[in-house]
């Protein structure tokens, strides 16, 4: 088997080598660069879309947050007003109850005083009647018989006893 000289220029070999490099260039372009570039572009697109999604989500979350804060403040104010109103109503009602109670108590006391006064009046009348009765009976007895000192004394005692009994 022969071999080439160490330096031997051959036109066809040069052309073939040139063609080989061109072919390899085309192969690399088609089988390495095209799919990888395509994939990188797809990756970039996906990353972009994810970024925009995240941006949108953040914006909507911020909007919701602001809305909720607003609502919370409104609710707090409302609650305060409700409590104040309720306190006012309760105070008014309580005042009214106390007023009523005081009025009722006054009425009851007046009634009781009236009753007591009437009772005393009646008792006085009763006592007066009694006294009249007793003195009438005493006068009858004194007119009925003669009175001596002893009788007199006994009579008076009897009278007083009678008063005491009554």
């Amino acid at each position: 088997m022969q071999s080439l000289d160490i330096i031997s220029v051959n036109l066809w070999q040069i052309l073939i080598s040139l063609a080989n490099l061109t072919i390899l260039f085309l192969l690399l372009k088609k089988f390495l660069y095209k799919p990888v570039t395509k994939m990188l572009e797809a990756r970039r697109a996906e990353i972009d879309s994810q970024y925009s999604d995240a941006q949108n989500a953040k914006q909507s979350a911020e909007a919701k947050d602001a809305e909720l804060t607003e609502r919370l403040v409104g609710a707090k104010a409302e609650a305060e007003s409700i409590i104040n109103e309720a306190a006012d109503i309760a105070k008014a009602r309580g005042d009214k109850i106390v007023e009523d109670a005081r009025a009722t108590a006054d009425g009851i006391r007046r009634q009781a005083e009236e009753d007591a006064r009437l009772e005393r009046k009646r008792m006085n009348e009763t006592i007066k009647e009694e006294i009249v009765e007793v003195s009438t009976a005493l006068a009858e007895k004194m007119l009925e018989r003669e009175v001596n000192a002893d009788d007199h004394k006994a009579l008076i005692d009897d009278f007083i006893d009678k008063i005491g009994e009554n």
């Binding site: 022969q2 071999s3 330096i7 031997s8 073939i16 690399l28």
Partner: protein, 283 residues
């Protein structure tokens, strides 16, 4: 697909083993000729370098298919990262060394690097590295020369002709010489580096064998035939010449390609010209 990438190497090694003639003593020669095809002007010998570069192309093709198989946006496979790394590195290399106008150059630079590096690394497997054949590297250099000239011609042939009389018109012959020297120097730089590495390796190995024969030749029996001194030094030389030098030359060739093409292209003139043309078309 990895099998497809490894198979060409196995084929190359088998061919090498089958067809290498028995050597006596030192022999430094070119590639083996498998057969010759008669062609006009010059016969075309199909040599080891032709076959090996074809095998390298097949290997690279299958590696590409392997790395880009099952590409996904989320990069679930580790090998996808290799493909991405290669693409991004070459693209950024082209962007920094050339202008944005040449963004399509990345695959070309990658193919130069891959072809050159893989071809040189074939010598690790004992195969003939096609880069130590002047025809192979010469073909690449001529393609680069065509590219350089194409981009210089972008502003029209007149602009191209004028560029030769650049500083002063009477230096034009020198400019022509330097223009022609570009592909020749590129080809010879690469080819010479790889070939000289192979030559030095052979010389050192042979020399060490002779030295062993002199020093240990007195040992009885087969012991006297073992080349003890060949242990060590040839391995280090192989690491330098086959691995380091091969990759370095590939990188240098690619860098020179980028620099020559980018520096030869009169970008500002071209853009101005194109803008003018567009304006005229609009009218």
């Amino acid at each position: 697909m990895l099998i497809g990438a490894v198979a060409p190497l196995v084929v190359g090694i088998i061919l090498k083993v089958l067809f290498t003639p028995e050597k006596v003593g030192i022999s430094i020669s070119g590639a083996l000729i498998y057969f010759t095809i008669p062609m006009p002007l010059q016969n075309l010998p199909i040599t080891e370098s032709q076959v090996n570069s074809a095998l390298v192309i097949v290997t690279i093709l299958f590696l590409c298919l392997y790395f880009t198989h099952g590409l996904t946006v989320k990069a679930e496979l580790k090998r996808q990262l290799v493909a991405e790394w290669i693409v991004k590195q070459t693209q950024s290399l082209v962007k920094t060394n050339m202008s944005d106008y040449f963004s399509g150059f990345a695959p070309f630079v990658a193919s130069i690097m891959a072809l050159s590096a893989f071809s040189s690394l074939l010598s690790l497997f004992g195969m003939y590295p096609p880069t130590s054949d002047i025809n192979i590297v010469g073909g690449w250099a001529i393609l680069v020369f065509i590219l350089i000239t194409y981009y210089k011609m972008k502003c029209g042939p007149l602009h191209y002709a004028k560029s030769f009389g650049d500083p002063v018109p009477f230096l034009a012959p020198l400019n022509v010489i330097s223009e022609v020297a570009t592909p020749i120097s590129m080809a010879f730089r690469h080819y010479g580096n790889v070939l000289s590495g192979a030559v030095i390796s052979v010389l050192v190995a042979t020399g060490l064998q002779g030295l062993t024969n002199i020093i240990f030749g007195w040992l009885p029996g087969f012991l006297g035939n073992i080349p003890f001194l060949q242990i060590g030094l040839p391995a280090i030389l192989s690491v330098y010449f086959d691995l380091f030098s091969g990759c370095l030359q590939a990188f240098i060739f690619a860098m020179l390609t980028m620099l020559y093409v980018a520096s030869g292209f009169p970008e500002e003139d071209y853009l101005a010209r194109r803008a003018k043309k567009l304006a005229r078309l609009k009218k």
